[in-house]
Symmetry: C2
Subunit: 163 residues, 2 copies
Amino acid sequence: MIGSDIREGEIAVTLPEKFDAGVYFIGRIRTPWKTRSECPRNARGSDAVCTIELDKRYAPALDGVVTCTHLVVLYFMHEARRDLVVQVSRHSGRRGTFALRSPVRPNPIAMSVVKLVKVEGSTLSVVGLDCLDGTPLIDIKPYFASVDSVPDAVVGWSKSGKE
Amino acid sequence: MIGSDIREGEIAVTLPEKFDAGVYFIGRIRTPWKTRSECPRNARGSDAVCTIELDKRYAPALDGVVTCTHLVVLYFMHEARRDLVVQVSRHSGRRGTFALRSPVRPNPIAMSVVKLVKVEGSTLSVVGLDCLDGTPLIDIKPYFASVDSVPDAVVGWSKSGKE
């Protein structure tokens, strides 16, 4: 059965009845983009400086972050549906959800690698985000090139090698 | 106040009364490590092939994953406390939580970049995990070198540049 909100070739599954764990929204991400259509195609699609507004409760957790050139940011794509396991798009064709970086996934948690520009109090200025203004923040981590950087990694289905 | 379960110099905060969103455990990670002390120091600390057992419900979402040489894996460190914003360890000194990759954080979601070895049905064999056997899986994403690889990134507080 294909509803009006699912494209031909897409597959939806019934999700479990309840969640297994909870997450806190620990801040908000401020970007220039107010709608999905305004968002850049991927995180290298814009040089815009975005801001991460961390809740003041967690401000001491930023101690040492200023020494990092790059960070891993996890955020919650709270407007995305979660039940599609196969998706169809003009850009990516028909793919399994786990072969895509689409916001649509069972746990709509995005990961972006960002360049740190500035830390002021509990606000970070960064380059490399592509999400909607107001997106809830989940986590900030230091980016370690030793474990996180794989320059020769390949995504075979993607002709451009880009998202 | 420093309890018996917190080290001198560490800072705990009161977490919000309730969660803002929920996550599904979509599978389990199988590793050779049954206790925290057995786990390798970081994800490059072992060449062990680990397996990711995805729930069969989500198996169609793996379509296309086999074309990826590397994946981003998100998993839930369900045994970690969540209230420390400053942590002290012999390895890393005294640091804010967001300058660390410690499992202890408000949302104990780990991110590892892994090398894909094999896909068989709903089971993936990968190299590059360092977590406990049985760790709940949250997400699998394709690793795009174009946006995820930053070979010259620096974590200034870390002498070795390693986790």
